[in-house]
């Protein structure tokens, strides 16, 4: 079931055929090994791999290299990269390298070390400006997944301890698990929304656990089209900000209505992130599909905010 990447908005997650935890399936530990043991249909789109550490490589030449490399060797795929990379474009932006804790399944585990697999993230190279030194912390990740089977919500609510279902209020089962501490909305169509995770990987793990619960309840649930829909981060610049001044100088991006909301709403164009800036110096960033967008947005706003630090 390979979707056509150019037309379908939902990214084909290459891990999905192996991800379904059917009772007969082997455990996930063997997943990566299995990829090498039985070379099944490997996705031919390698453009989600980050090769920007190679010298003198432009976007076009990267694509060339990738297509060549694809024929030569098996590549290890990080499901989390693909799930993050919605528009199959290569990360040329340097700020994308700043994944502080993007853990990926290490290639060494399976005994194969393809040289083109991205290594642990490097520090971003920003020669011109000094970085703020503050890293926004992710507070919430919202993701969706398709379980691809019709569900009987009453049945689920009866058989599951951690579910609540009130059809008069809302047409979905609200299920919660303790680890990772998340909440899921499960609809009768088989679609599910998972919220509350603090990282992309946690969100994926939580979504898989919910799918497992639904499976154990007797439904033939799959795990299709897992996608991160929204990421929320927050941080503190540690100095008060004159919001009235900021709205004057950045009028086209800012909306500051003290009668409505105490914070200033800043709609950044690139990356497309909405920031809530408060007088105490706390900043909330939301609307990101990738972690890098949050970091980039904060690095963009920090020098602007610093400009208002000394306003008397």
């Amino acid at each position: 079931f390979k979707d056509d990447l150019s037309t379908s908005p939902q990214l084909f997650t290459p891990m999905s055929p192996y991800d379904v935890d059917l009772p007969i399936q082997t455990t996930e530990d063997v997943l990566f090994g299995s990829q090498f043991n039985q070379p099944k249909e490997l996705p031919t789109d390698f453009s989600s791999v980050d090769l920007s550490f190679l010298p003198d490589i432009t976007q076009d030449s990267k694509e060339e290299n990738l297509s060549e490399a694809g024929h030569d060797m098996q590549k290890e795929f990080d499901g989390s990269i693909s799930s993050r990379n919605e528009d199959s474009s290569i990360f040329v932006d340097e700020s994308s390298l700043s994944y502080p804790d993007a853990t990926r399944p290490s290639p060494e585990a399976s005994g194969v070390c393809p040289p083109l697999t991205p290594m642990t993230p490097m520090t971003p190279v920003t020669p011109a400006s000094e970085s703020s030194g503050i890293v926004p912390q992710l507070q919430n990740i919202v993701s969706t997944v398709n379980l691809a089977c019709k569900l009987d919500l009453k049945n689920i609510a009866l058989h599951a301890r951690n579910a609540e279902y009130n059809p008069k209020r809302f047409a979905a089962v609200i299920m919660r698990i303790r680890e990772p501490r998340t909440t899921a909305l499960i609809f009768s169509s088989g679609k599910m929304v998972c919220t509350g995770a603090k990282s992309e990987e946690q969100s994926r793990l939580a979504a898989r656990k919910y799918a497992r619960v639904v499976q154990k309840l007797g439904f033939p649930a799959k795990f299709l089209d897992f996608k991160i829909q929204n990421m929320v981060g927050s941080c503190d610049v540690r100095f008060p900000i004159r919001l009235e001044g900021l709205v004057l100088t950045h009028q086209q991006f800012s909306s500051y209505e003290p009668e409505l909301f105490p914070g200033l709403i800043y709609r950044m164009v690139k990356p497309r992130i909405v920031l809530l800036i408060f007088v105490s110096g706390k900043v909330v960033l939301t609307g990101a599909k990738e972690r890098s967008e949050i970091y980039e947005a904060f690095e963009n706003i920090y020098p602007i905010l610093k400009g208002f630090k000394k306003a008397s």
Partner: protein, 415 residues
Amino acid sequence: MAARGSCPGCGSTALVEDAHYAQQQLVCAACGCVLSEGLLTTTYAEEEHLREVAYSQSTGQKEQLSRCLQRGIRRVQDLCKVLQLPTVFEETAVSYFQRALQHPSFHLVSLEKKELLGGCCIFVTCRQHNWPLTMGTICSLLYVKQELFASVYLSLQKELGLSVPALSLGDLVKTHLNSFQLFQHAANVPAPFVEDKEKMVARTMQIVELASETWLVTGRHPIPIVTAAAFLSWQSLQPAARLTCTFARFCKLAGVDLPPPAHLRLKELLEILLRMASQLAWLRVFNMDKKTVVKHIGDLLQHRIFLLKNAFCLEDEEEQHAMTPGEGSPGSPPAAGGAAQEEGCPSEGKRQHEGRPRPLLPPCLINPRKRLRTAAPSASDSAITGDEPISDSEIEQYLRGPEEIRAFRKAKAWP
């Protein structure tokens, strides 16, 4: 069918509209005199009164607009008249309203929201011309809740891409004070409470500016601050007679609402003024409190620039104090920089006397509310890959056992 008017020939009022072949004629039933024929009338057949028919009516211009749009435009025009806005505002607001209604996101909203939309357009127009209209006023005119107004306003701003300048505080002060009824003698207002408008406006502006400099305005609703500032300025202009009057009574006499946050704003303003008073040489001998400081507001405002510098440490000094612990005794200020502000910052000795001169920060940073800080992601959290194996026991803890299900079925009579 009887028509109005009287026959010029016999004076009878029995006029009938009749048709001679296809031509309409107005004929007197008594004498048969034809009064008029071949009339080309509009739907408003008032020819005998010779009332001119408006172009928009005769050409059906109004009919081109939907009834909903017509009603909305009329409502916008009426609101502008109630608010006594200039005609330019009316035209701009109507054009925004028409643009907005054509936009797909507003085309199909409820009638209530469409009326709200009209109010939003007026609000945006006023703000763009720096006319100090508050949301509270518009909401009370439209009889809507402020949350609903807020959501429609924000989506209007986004969809039409309007840039709305910030509310001008100075203009707001003037407009808000206009509604106070303390500037003329009235039956319920005692004589010593009546005040000169110009003086009160000027002093209120100064206090509001002071509040703005000391971080009391940013992020807060402006009206409570203006109300509190008006109260302080009114009291300070004749303290002897007015110190006994409470805030609530003042608002009742003035005929304005007392918004709940205004009490807190008043407290914050008084705290700022007290700190400033502690730096004024001839006031240091007195033991100032919230009541007595009001008498000296005039002096404090006059010297506010100097007093603010002295009463509050700017953050830089705080950091430098912290970073240079070895430099001299606590009693002497650090010699780094030599900026003028440094001399103003009181030394440690003084601090013990009147409590630390606090840094000039917004109140939310001075009194941070104790909040559960979410722990930073631990190492084990960040090691999650998302593809870990999920044990069966972990999942089974979330499933009900058969006895439990039976019990539930019995209890809830599960269908």
